[in-house]
């Protein structure tokens, strides 16, 4: 089909242009983070030199790590190496940054994806339930709870979960983590509370958005045509209604993933999870800039890929998008 070929070409062009657009974003994001690092008090050279080190020793260390270079030169140096695939090593532990990311990122991705999955699994049925009973007490109840869910902070809810589900009822471990690469089911077990803490906003956001777009679609003219064709309300909702709102829903889920990824930084601290978020926090506190840069890079790349995937999926679900 000629239209299918055309649509494919549009998609290919979109992927290439998106990836090219991503490069300046990566440079900008790492540059901003690098600049902010300069504002943080403390000197990594002092830490490295150890207690009671002489001023000459500290100066030597500055020299050795290039910390005496001007700010832009330091950044340029990092960028040049990163472009060649060398993210450097931690100034403190000497662990290569690539290895740090490989060790911690799967943990972060696990809780982030777990939280997104929970948001969808709980938020979608709630949204559908509220939309099909729009105006009923059930609808008001769900939407009221959703407003609350949007307002509740993740870390606070995380602490409440630890208090009750872990410490009082002992259903889940309070803190700690098992790497998904060692034992996946145990990893899921340990990741449940952090994911629950992260998903409240997501559940609420998805339920609200889905309800409003379903209610809107249900009163549209093409849904009236479906009724006039003699389709059952169930078929209209599940086949036509959901496909019509799927682009909307997918966009919300994509944005939600980004939000949740950012929120892992705090939630990992609450649950003591060795993820990228906690390594960023530690590295920032110690001025270990190669680790910060590498971790931020990994997060930005993930966000860009998720956004690209979301947009591609939208063109599949709604043929009108690839035309534009």
């Amino acid at each position: 089909m000629t239209t299918a070929v055309k649509a494919n070409r549009v998609k290919q062009r979109m992927v290439v242009s998106r990836l090219l657009q991503a490069l300046p974003i990566l440079v900008l994001a790492t540059f901003i983070v690098f600049s902010l690092m300069q504002l943080i008090p403390g000197d990594v050279a002092v830490t490295l030199a150890g207690e009671n080190a002489s001023a000459e020793r500290i100066a030597q260390i500055r020299e050795a790590y290039g910390l005496n270079q001007p700010f832009l030169a330091q950044y340029g140096d990092w960028l040049w190496r990163a472009a060649q695939g060398d993210l450097g090593a931690s100034l403190l532990s000497g662990e290569p940054v690539a290895q740090t990311i490989a060790r911690t990122f799967p943990n972060t991705l696990l809780i982030a994806f777990y939280a997104v999955l929970l948001s969808v699994l709980v938020g979608v049925p709630l949204g559908i339930l509220a939309a099909t009973r729009a105006g009923s007490p059930l609808d008001s109840g769900i939407m009221g709870a959703a407003s609350l869910g949007v307002a509740v902070p993740n870390f606070w809810f995380g602490m409440i979960l630890v208090l009750y589900l872990a410490l009082t009822f002992k259903w889940f471990p309070a803190t700690g983590f098992v790497s998904p690469r060692e034992d996946f089911s145990a990893a899921l077990w340990y990741a449940t509370l952090p994911a629950l803490a992260l998903c409240t906003n997501g559940v609420a956001e998805i339920a609200r958005q889905l309800r409003s777009s379903l209610v809107e679609i249900q009163s549209s003219q093409h849904v009236r045509t479906l009724h006039a064709k003699g389709l059952s309300p169930a078929r209209i909702l599940w086949k036509h209604g959901l496909k019509n709102v799927s682009v909307n829903l997918l966009t919300v889920v994509g944005l939600l993933f980004n939000k949740i990824l950012a929120a892992t930084v705090v939630v990992e601290a609450v649950f003591a999870i060795p993820g990228v978020g906690s390594s960023i926090v530690n590295a920032v506190l110690q001025g270990d800039f190669p680790v910060v840069q590498g971790a931020v890079l990994a997060m930005v790349v993930t966000v860009i890929l998720v956004n690209l995937f979301t947009d591609l999926a939208c063109t599949v679900l709604d043929p009108r998008i690839s035309e534009a």
Partner: protein, 340 residues
């Protein structure tokens, strides 16, 4: 009921559709607003009935009420007999089986009446397969036939296209194909050409007439365009402010309307009045639903209103199978659009 396949003659005994005293109102927190009152009419098998009236006269609402498509706040009183069943009392599941299968509907806005995220092939076969036991392959073939029937070029390829890939006129053809794919006995066309270009309008009207002729499908043609009715229908129902004010064969009403409102509509048709003159119009506006007069609803705008018009006006039978809701219809000689 044995329905014959040959061209159905207007049945003498039981009409295909018989609407009796249909009154529709919408409930709202402050009470109820009446939209139509005691609307009655019949459609014989294969007949084409035009329903005209200005915006808000209740003609579209009446069309939607026949299929039970009004929102939940609507209160419908009266009876809608279709092939021996009262549609207004049918359970939802039974009514659903008639919709799209025995009675189908064509809407005004072809741009928004089709589902934008499904191919038209899917939308056509879905209609057929939800009413008839046919295989996927067979449904596809029937869909291609249906598109060919409404004059869509290379229908087999276009089956895989989405609504946005069609022009307005082509979309309306798709809507017509979809309405006809189950070979219904009655098609309700609610302003099917209003949103289209003038040249396309004429094509769509011709198409509807041809298809109704060739398949024997009855047509309830809701429009504000008397010219369309004159070309298409055999009978005309004029509605004003929620009431039927006149019912007559098209030929005789064009020549001699029996209600002042029908006459006013006919006289304001462009092209029929003298060239270079201002088009005649009916002065005034329709009374608001909450301040309808007890008597004739047209009296405030009627050039022939006199004492007596404030009395309630029944729909009176006249000669030649005609009805008019005007006590003076016998004495008045009203101008029509066609001068003998």
């Amino acid at each position: 009921m044995a329905q014959h396949t040959e061209r159905p003659r207007p049945a003498q005994d039981t009409p295909l559709l018989s609407v009796e005293n249909l009154s529709i109102s919408f409930a709202h927190p402050g009470g109820e607003t009446a939209i139509t009152r005691d609307v009655s009419f019949t459609v014989a098998a294969g007949e084409r009935l035009g329903v005209v009236g200005e915006s808000g006269c209740g003609k579209s609402v009446t069309g939607l009420a026949l299929l039970g498509l009004l929102p939940a706040t609507a209160r419908v009183r009266g009876a809608i007999h279709f092939q021996g069943e009262d549609l207004s009392r049918l359970p939802a599941s039974r009514l659903r089986r008639l919709r799209g299968s025995e009675i189908s509907m064509i809407f005004q806005e072809p741009m928004s009446a089709l589902d934008p995220v499904f191919t038209i092939g899917e939308q056509l076969t879905e209609t057929l397969r939800s009413h008839r036991k046919v295989s996927r392959k067979e449904a596809r073939e029937r869909a291609i036939e249906a598109l060919a029937e409404v004059g869509i070029p290379s229908p087999a390829q276009r089956l895989n296209d989405y609504p946005y890939q069609f022009s307005g006129g082509m979309r309306q053809r798709v809507m017509i194909a979809m309405a006809l794919i189950c070979r219904p006995k009655l098609v309700i066309a609610d302003e099917p050409t209003t949103a289209l270009d003038v040249t396309v309008q004429a094509q769509i009207i011709d198409l509807l007439r041809e298809i109704s002729d060739s398949t024997g499908t009855a047509l309830l043609f809701i429009t504000h365009d008397l010219g369309v009715v004159a070309e298409t229908c055999s009978r005309l129902l004029t509605m004003y402010a929620g009431e039927v004010v006149e019912s007559a064969p098209v030929d005789s009403v064009l020549y001699r309307p029996r209600h002042p409102y029908s006459s006013g509509l006919l006289c304001s048709l462009p092209g029929l009045s003298e060239r270079g003159q201002r088009l005649p119009s009916i002065a005034g506006r329709v009374p608001a639903p909450d301040r309808m007069p007890r008597g004739c609803r047209f009296q405030a705008r009627c050039p022939h209103a006199t004492e007596g018009c404030e009395q309630p006006q029944p729909l009176q039978p006249l000669t030649d199978h005609r009805l008019a809701r005007c006590w003076r219809s016998a004495e008045l000689t009203l101008p029509g659009a066609v001068t003998p």
